[in-house]
């Protein structure tokens, strides 16, 4: 059974229909890249999977681990093992990173029937993971993302993912705004998480991330639909030829 099965998914924000029939199957252990130009619906797909309520699903279904994902509250999706690395991580002044992450981890552990961690054990868990992400430990005591640089925010997302150990990670433009050194750190963090039990959906605009995080499958999203799927070489093709040719092709077919 597939870990995630998206069938003919339609979603809109306000009056604008953004997803216009997405079909995608993701098995445990696979890494899928979703590429496409701005406005094609990549981020919408990521947010819909995590349960953001500003997007209204108007049709189709999403089955996660045999369950109806769309019927679940965002927090329940997270507890069931879905993680979204945000394109724009939200700043939350007044809540410390440490308090936030410990609360999150313990809620998820509780859901999985594992003992909650006390402050000491929690620190031991996060210390190693911070090192992998080359993050300063003082970041733990700072408010969530507040005053973080762009790179720090993105690293913080992957760090959270490493601590929460999801079964399905959705990475939304995790590469945007990163210089090549930061990109490599983030990619190393993600690669360390690759596991036969875990699936990843990597949403990106550029190929460059995909030379660091090598996907098993690449899909091209255009105007709310997957217009082309292939192996990792598709990303290189896109890099060389751009999106224009690719998504005009099915457009043309559709008009005939």
């Amino acid at each position: 059974m597939a870990l995630l099965e998206i069938k003919d998914l339609h979603a809109k924000v306000g009056d604008r229909e953004i997803l216009q029939g997405i079909n995608l199957t993701v098995n445990a252990g696979e890494v899928h890249a979703i590429m496409g130009p701005n406005g094609s619906g990549k981020s919408t797909l990521a947010q819909v999977l995590a349960g953001r309520d500003i997007y209204v699903v108007t049709g189709g279904s999403v089955t996660y681990d045999g369950k109806d994902l769309l019927a679940m509250a965002p927090e329940d999706r997270a507890r069931e093992g879905i993680f979204l690395a945000f394109q724009y991580p939200v700043e939350i002044p007044g809540v410390s990173n440490m308090y936030f992450l410990k609360a999150a981890l313990n809620t998820i552990r509780q859901h999985r029937g594992i003992d909650e961690l006390d402050a000491m054990d929690f620190l031991n868990v996060v210390r190693d993971k911070m090192q992998i992400m080359k993050m300063d430990q003082t970041l733990l005591n700072r408010p969530v993302n507040a005053g973080f640089s762009g790179g720090e925010k993105k690293r913080n997302e992957i760090f959270q993912m490493a601590v929460l150990e999801p079964r399905l990670a959705v990475l939304d433009e995790t590469d945007s705004g990163l210089d090549i050194d930061a990109l490599r750190v983030v990619a190393a963090g993600v690669n360390a998480m690759r596991d036969p039990e875990r699936a990843m959906i990597v949403v990106t605009h550029y190929q460059r991330l995909l030379s660091e995080i090598v996907p098993d499958f690449v899909h091209v999203l255009a105007e709310g639909r997957i217009v082309k799927s292939g192996g990792k070489e598709l990303a290189l093709e896109l890099e060389a030829e751009g999106y224009a040719d690719l998504y005009e092709e099915p457009e043309a077919v559709g008009k005939v």
Partner: protein, 431 residues
């Protein structure tokens, strides 16, 4: 005039029944009562009281009760008799325009007067606590029905509290609600430093009408905290008046949690190079009404003032913020910043916020801003997307909203207890 006379009649009786005072004090009381009788209780046509209707206070017959201050202060602080402070008492908190200050002054008796001598640094906070005691059950305010029905005392007591809790107006029918007029005067000598924590709490239905005057000497540093934890049936009207000396720094932190009807006036008058910080946090729920009026008067050059008031509203609560900043013509190079932020958790809560800038100097910097908002949906989603339940996420964000005001509290024990109160409050809300 007759309406005013009607309101003030009962007060006149209590006023004349006071034990005799020394001549200087009697003169002061007489002048204050005359002023109160002339002003009467303010109504909502009075711009200063536009959003705060005190008619429930005006029509209630209160029984006067002497304020009972619990004082904790180190030896370096001197406690004075009121007569020793005649030169300052009622000279800072003017009673010519404010009926409640006039009323307090008319009943001036148990004044707490403290002096921090010149150059003395008092490290331990000076604590002044007013707690209105529970009335004996026989006297306690009971609704007519429960007075007729014979039920065990404990139950009757609970029932009366519950029924009074429904509305502030319930107090209007009471014949035995008490009124106290707490009065504090603190004289801080030049180059001295101190921290003052005023706490107001009580049991049952009552009216606290407090006035605090603080005289901050030149180059002195004073941190003032007021924690208002009255019952949800209480009326609390208070004025804090600070006169700040040259190059002195005064900070007021006003934490307002309880009360059915609350009005806090905080007024600071600055001189040359003075610094005033006015922070406030108000948390209201149910039908609570809280009105924070602040006035910062820059009279001389190079003064700075920073003001941050934050409010959290739920239920049908109503909050008023009015921040007046005066920059007089001599007060060049004034630097003043005012911020009022409100977090509204329900559809029925109401906020009225108004900055009031009167600037007569031309080389100044004054900024102000006010916001009224709800919890940030994006932040809520971010927390939820990490597995944190919606209600816990809401309480976490609400708590976080208050955090920067709480962080500015320098008294560790106070900060801890406030954090605990906030945590319980919002945890409760989340359940």
């Amino acid at each position: 005039m007759s309406a005013v006379a009607e309101q003030t009649g009962a007060w006149l009786e209590h006023f004349t029944n006071q034990p005799p005072a020394p001549a200087w004090l009697q003169t002061l009381r007489d002048a204050a009562f005359a002023r109160f009788a002339a002003l009467g209780f303010p109504n909502t046509h009075n711009e200063e009281w536009r959003f705060t209707n005190v008619s429930a206070i005006a029509r209630t017959a209160f029984t006067p009760s002497a304020p009972d201050a619990l004082l904790v202060y180190p030896e370096s602080v001197k406690k004075l008799a009121p007569a020793e402070a005649e030169a300052h008492l009622a000279r800072h908190a003017a009673f010519d325009r404010n009926a409640f200050v006039a009323l307090n002054t008319a009943f001036l008796g148990n004044v707490t007067v403290l002096e921090i001598p010149r150059g003395v640094v008092v490290e331990q906070p000076i604590e002044i606590t007013y707690e209105v005691p529970e009335l004996p059950v026989a006297q306690a305010l009971l609704p007519a029905v429960s007075r007729l029905v014979s039920t065990p005392v404990r139950e009757r007591d609970t029932e009366s509290k519950a029924s009074v809790g429904r509305s502030a107006d319930a107090a209007g029918t009471s014949a035995c609600a008490t009124v106290t007029h707490p009065r504090i005067l603190i004289l801080v000598g030049a180059n001295a430093q101190c921290t003052i924590v005023e706490t107001y709490k009580g049991t049952g239905t009552y009216f606290t009408n407090a006035v605090t005057e603080i005289v901050v000497g030149d180059r002195a540093v004073v941190d003032h905290y007021k924690v208002q934890q009255e019952t949800v049936n209480a009326f609390h009207i208070a004025t804090l008046e600070a006169t700040i000396g040259r190059s002195a720094a005064f900070a007021s932190h006003s934490i307002s949690l309880g009360g059915a009807l609350v009005r806090n006036d905080v007024n600071a008058t600055l001189s040359e190079g003075s610094d005033a910080t006015l922070n406030g946090l108000y948390i209201v729920n149910g039908t609570q009404h809280v009105d924070n009026h602040t006035m910062i008067d820059h009279t001389m050059p190079h003064g700075t003032s920073h003001e941050l008031y934050k409010g959290i509203l739920d239920g049908k609560a109503h909050a008023v913020f009015n921040g007046k900043i005066i920059v007089r013509k001599d007060a060049q190079k004034t630097d003043s910043k005012q911020t009022n932020k409100n977090l509204v958790l329900s559809d029925d809560a109401v906020v009225d916020t108004k900055p009031e800038l009167q600037i007569f100097a031309d080389d100044v910097r004054c900024t102000h801003g006010a916001t009224i908002g709800q919890l940030d949906g994006e932040a809520l989603f971010y927390l939820q997307s990490r597995g944190i339940g919606k209600s816990q996420a809401r309480s976490l964000l609400t708590y976080a909203f208050a955090q920067d005001v709480v962080d500015r509290i320098k008294v560790q024990s106070l900060r801890d207890s406030l954090e605990r109160i906030l945590f319980e409050k919002f945890h409760e809300h989340a359940e």
